[in-house]
């Protein structure tokens, strides 16, 4: 049994909140850079260049890349041989968010109640998904999620007979309908299988995978490639102002499902596709 002090978790989470919002990770930056040469639209090309410039300013000045510093979403893998001492794990993560968003001058976007809408003023509570794994480490993955893109996601409970074509149709429809709203070029997270809520969780989890890193399953990688190609034929382009670069990547995650169903969820991320992980 390995003991980890809750304070260490708070401190790591605090750093992650700031770093993820100030520094766009290299996988996303590289994909944007690569797409500049391929972009045929002059407006689109100009926008992609400005996105790089913006990311450089943010990193240098240590200010958020985007003003929507998101709702704080965590995926936490906890080794079953770990004991967290000196505090409750969930509270330790929330305290990290509280400190990171306040000390990092990040925007606090969370309201206490969906109807009363009073700001909690510290961006808590975080959304935390726990997973118990083997070992004595804790892996924390963090993806601050802006709602310009979050609002554009979708879920559909397809029939098994709809098959892969049905899935493709739905994913493409979601991206088409979203148009300029989610700040394209987007990263498309797709969750297929499980139950209704599992598909949504998979779609979000898919956004944590580096852009350009494909699913290990061959037929799923094929689906990712085909979807990316189809989506980039939509013409939406950077910021929805036309062009070839509508998506930087499509990440698909799958899970076993029921004989009667084919759930599919789409979670869109904007070009500020923030994701970061630490292991403690």
């Amino acid at each position: 049994m390995r003991r980890i002090d809750a304070k260490i978790i708070t401190s790591k989470v605090k750093e992650m909140c700031m770093k993820a919002n100030y520094e766009l990770s290299n996988d996303v930056l590289d994909k944007i850079k690569q797409s500049i040469d391929k972009e045929e639209s002059p407006i689109g090309k100009d926008i992609l260049e400005k996105l790089i410039l913006n990311a450089n300013i943010a990193k240098k000045e240590r200010v958020p890349i985007c003003q929507d510093t998101g709702m704080a979403v965590f995926f936490v893998d906890i080794g079953q041989d770990v004991f967290v001492e000196g505090g409750n794990l969930t509270e330790a993560i929330n305290e990290g968010v509280r400190q990171g968003y306040t000390e990092g001058y990040l925007r606090k976007s969370v309201v206490k109640d969906p109807f009363l809408r009073e700001n909690t003023k510290d961006n808590t509570p975080a959304i935390i998904h726990y997973n118990i794994v083997e070992g004595d480490k804790i892996k924390i993955r963090f993806a601050p999620k802006g709602f310009g893109s979050e609002n554009m996601g979708g879920l559909k409970m397809l029939k098994p007979s709809d098959g892969i074509e049905g899935v493709k149709q739905f994913v493409i429809d979601v991206v088409r309908k979203a148009g300029p709203n989610p700040c394209p070029p987007v990263v498309v997270g797709v969750g297929i299988g499980g139950t209704m809520e599992k598909a949504c969780l998979l779609a979000k989890k898919a956004l944590l995978r580096n852009v350009g890193k494909f699913n290990e399953k061959k037929h799923i990688k094929q689906l990712e490639l085909e979807l990316l190609q189809e989506i980039n034929k939509l013409g939406i382009g950077p910021q929805g102002l036309g062009g070839r670069t509508t998506a930087l990547g499509v990440n698909v995650e799958v899970f076993p499902t029921h004989i009667a169903g084919l759930p599919v969820a789409v979670n869109l991320n904007c070009h500020v596709a923030r994701h970061i992980e630490v292991q403690i």
Partner: protein, 183 residues
């Protein structure tokens, strides 16, 4: 692409000359407002109350900025998605609002009201919050302070870059440009 410098307040003549696709650099005073502020502004209009700033010929920027770091005027300040304001916008256009800065499509009711009231809709680059904040020289909260990032701010901007995406005739750059690249 035409490049035009414009200064607030807007006039009907300036608005009439702006065409979908023009690149503009906006200087002068603009006001911020997003979801919660719009709700309050429209409630005030419905109750016959005076608005907290002079809306006539003004530009509203849909933004919820990050807090400023010490020594800075404002934090990251890119545009938020505009369609959420669509239910409220026609009321403000009727009161003399001439320009809006945001990102994403507007609905038909907004576009019809823009045509009727001679107004223009600009898009700034969504997510480019660090880049845009460099153009903001002054920022003062002037109303609804309790809304935090959603409070109404009076901003002084210098050459804020934007693109005319829907002009006062209803021409829509989103539709025009996307159709060119759709396969």
């Amino acid at each position: 692409m035409k490049e035009i410098n414009i200064t607030t307040p807007l006039t009907d003549d300036v608005v009439a000359n702006l065409k979908a696709g023009d690149r503009v650099y906006i200087s002068g005073t603009i006001y911020t407002g997003r979801d919660a502020a719009h709700k309050r502004l429209v409630e005030a209009i419905k109750q016959g109350e005076q608005l907290p700033f002079d809306i006539e010929n003004s530009i509203l920027y849909y933004v919820g900025p990050c807090p400023p770091k010490p020594g800075k005027v404002i934090g990251s300040a890119g545009p938020t998605t505009s369609y959420r304001m669509d239910d409220y916008t026609p009321y403000l256009l009727e009161k003399g609002l001439k320009g809006m800065i945001g990102k994403g499509q507007r609905n038909n009711k907004v576009i019809e009201s823009m045509k009727k009231n001679k107004a223009v809709y600009f898009a700034a680059i969504g997510g480019a919050g660090a880049l845009i904040s460099d153009c903001i020289k002054e920022s003062t909260v002037i109303a609804y302070e309790d809304l935090g990032t959603e409070a109404i701010r009076k901003l002084t901007v210098e050459k804020l870059p934007a693109i005319v995406v829907i002009d006062s005739k209803g021409n829509n750059l989103y539709n025009i440009e996307v159709s060119k690249y759709e396969i």
